[in-house]
């Protein structure tokens, strides 16, 4: 695999030189492989949003570098807009950024800024709308007539329409009802599977991350607490809990079973995984 994004010893300090000075990101390094689905998890205030705003150059590092395809994104500050088209960032509660008269025009804002016109523009908009599950009849409506979940899809489409190489999502399901969450995540999963775009998903729901990510980055107080595959991370479930973070529900069940003396491996994060373990135990004539 090859690396698409690389973060090197990134530090960001807010309000330097005032009584409110504080580091929101401290000495963070990691790499993102092309096509991977990376989950970033951490408490509110652990620095997730600050970190990802560096990836498309909205924030400038206090120290450290961000490399996109091997090139420092701040090498040419005048061209930072190009980075923003390549690393699409969807903010938390993105529906509050909608402003156009119609859904179509709002989705077209990004690709237009990119310089797309005519058929290319139309194609980009319609394709993005389709990817997030918006129907054609929605496109001519005012975005303000739509439901909360639909507004969010419009905002997501507005970034997808720029056809970024990396898609960064900041808590895309925050504030949606369970059905809306699952729906949107299914869209994002399909998008990842079909387009092969690299995705970074920020969330504070362990279950959401566990179900979707190939690799997980756990942030705590502005630093990386752990990183690895879901199995590697959830094998350290006790540490996560001690740090005040959650583990997926099924990992919790496995940990409880183990504490009662069953020889289960708690590094499991899907129902199927635990089921397989328990069946194996049963067949092996264990105490189950």
């Amino acid at each position: 695999m090859n690396t698409i994004l690389q973060v090197e010893r990134l530090t960001h300090t807010y309000s330097v030189g005032t009584p409110f000075q504080r580091s929101a990101v401290e000495d963070i390094s990691f790499a993102v492989e092309r096509g991977e689905f990376l989950g970033i998890i951490g408490h509110t205030g652990s620095g997730k949003s600050t970190l990802i705003q560096h990836l498309n150059g909205l924030l400038r590092p206090t120290a450290g570098r961000v490399l996109l395809e091997g090139k420092d994104i701040w090498a040419e500050p005048k061209k930072i807009r190009n980075v923003r088209f390549q690393v699409g960032l969807v903010f938390q509660y993105p529906e509050y950024q909608l402003f156009e008269e119609t859904v179509y025009k709002d989705i077209a804002f990004g690709p237009k800024n990119q310089g797309k016109t005519g058929d290319a523009l139309d194609h980009a908009v319609r394709e993005a709308a389709r990817l997030v599950g918006l129907r054609d009849e929605h496109l001519d409506k005012s975005p303000f007539e739509l439901s909360g979940g639909q507004k969010r899809r419009v905002a997501l489409a507005g970034v997808l329409a720029m056809e970024p190489k990396v898609l960064v999502l900041d808590e895309p399901t925050a504030g949606l009802d369970p059905a809306g969450r699952e729906n949107l995540m299914a869209n994002i999963r399909d998008f990842h599977r079909n387009q092969g775009t690299t995705i970074l998903l920020v969330s504070h729901s362990m279950d959401e991350i566990a179900r979707n990510a190939n690799r997980i980055l756990v942030l705590k107080s502005a630093r990386i607490l752990m990183s690895g595959t879901p199995a590697e991370v959830f094998a350290r479930g006790e540490e996560l809990l001690a740090a005040g973070l959650d583990v997926p529900q099924i990992t919790r069940v496995a940990m409880a079973l183990r504490d009662r003396g069953l020889p289960v491996d708690p590094a499991v994060y899907t129902v199927e995984g635990l089921e397989a373990q328990l069946l194996a135990l049963k067949r092996g004539g264990g105490p189950c």
């Binding site: 009584p19 909608l98 804002f109 990004g110 800024n113 990119q114 970034v159 720029m162």
Partner: protein, 268 residues
């Protein structure tokens, strides 16, 4: 960043300057401004600057924060200064070029004008830095309560003011967020001519207004749910009461004003 704007920002603390009754502080600022307009000599301005310096010292507000408050009005200060410097007629022309001429009177006027604006702004900011918006409007309401007899809706006006003050930081934060979100979609606020720059503001202003209206609506509902119905018959949790330090501070303020007027009368 927009966040760096300090507009009526309150720095909590527990100094005498913080503990004074808000009414006292408002009255002191009024006295200070009056004194500034009475001042007509370097001696008087020196006195005013010294008074401010002592107040800053007592309040423990950093001088840097106070100077930062001047930044947004820097243009006005420079502009007024230049206007006075270049266009004041008078004797003793030091330099002239076309319609511009620098005179001794002009030099003096410009210096006084710049000093006056700077001291005025810093003095007012010192009050907002040491008084929370809530107690400030509380004090204002009490001070103006006499106007109720003339059917001035004092309570409603001060309520509007305190809500506005309360939401300034929120709106600034929101503007920051919306700007970032639109920049992430390639919005460009820096380049282009004036017309293009104005048009680039639409993607910020529309969401900002929508959210401001939404907030106003939610706030109104929340207030109604708690049976808010205006100022009539409303009692206060914290009833303002002048203490000995308030009388002392006000006496001092009046004395300083008298001093400045005396300086002027002596032709100093």
């Amino acid at each position: 960043m927009l966040k760096d704007i300090t507009l009526g920002q309150y720095f909590p603390g527990n100094t005498v300057a913080h503990r004074l009754d808000p009414r006292t502080k408002i009255l002191l600022v009024v006295l200070y401004i009056t004194a500034l307009f009475c001042a007509g000599s370097f001696a008087a301005y020196g006195l005013m600057a010294a008074v401010l310096a002592v107040c800053v010292r007592v309040s423990r507000v950093g001088l840097r924060a106070l100077v930062k408050g001047l930044k947004p009005v820097l243009f006005i200060i420079v502009f007024t200064g230049l206007l006075n410097l270049l266009f004041t007629p008078g004797e003793g022309i030091l330099w002239a070029w076309g319609p511009f001429h620098v005179t001794e009177t002009g030099l003096r006027n410009a210096a006084f004008m710049v000093l006056r604006i700077m001291l005025l702004i810093m003095g007012t900011f010192l009050m907002t830095y040491t008084t929370s918006p809530i107690s400030l409007t509380d004090g204002l309401e009490r001070l103006l309560s006499g106007l109720k007899r003339f059917h001035v809706p004092v309570h409603e006006l001060t309520m509007i003011m305190s809500i506005a003050l309360r939401f300034i930081p929120t709106l600034i934060e929101e503007t920051d967020k919306i700007m970032s979100a639109q920049k992430a979609r390639g919005a460009d606020f820096e380049s282009g001519n004036l017309m293009e720059k104005a048009r680039a503001l639409v993607p910020i202003l529309v969401p900002l207004f929508i959210s401001a209206f939404r907030r106003a609506d939610e706030l109104a509902t929340a207030m109604e749910c708690r049976c808010y119905h205006g100022g009539e018959g409303r009692t206060k949790l914290h009833v303002l009461q002048y203490q000995r330090r308030d009388y002392a501070a006000l006496t001092l303020g009046v004395l300083i004003l008298a001093g400045v007027i005396a300086l002027r009368a002596c032709g100093l």
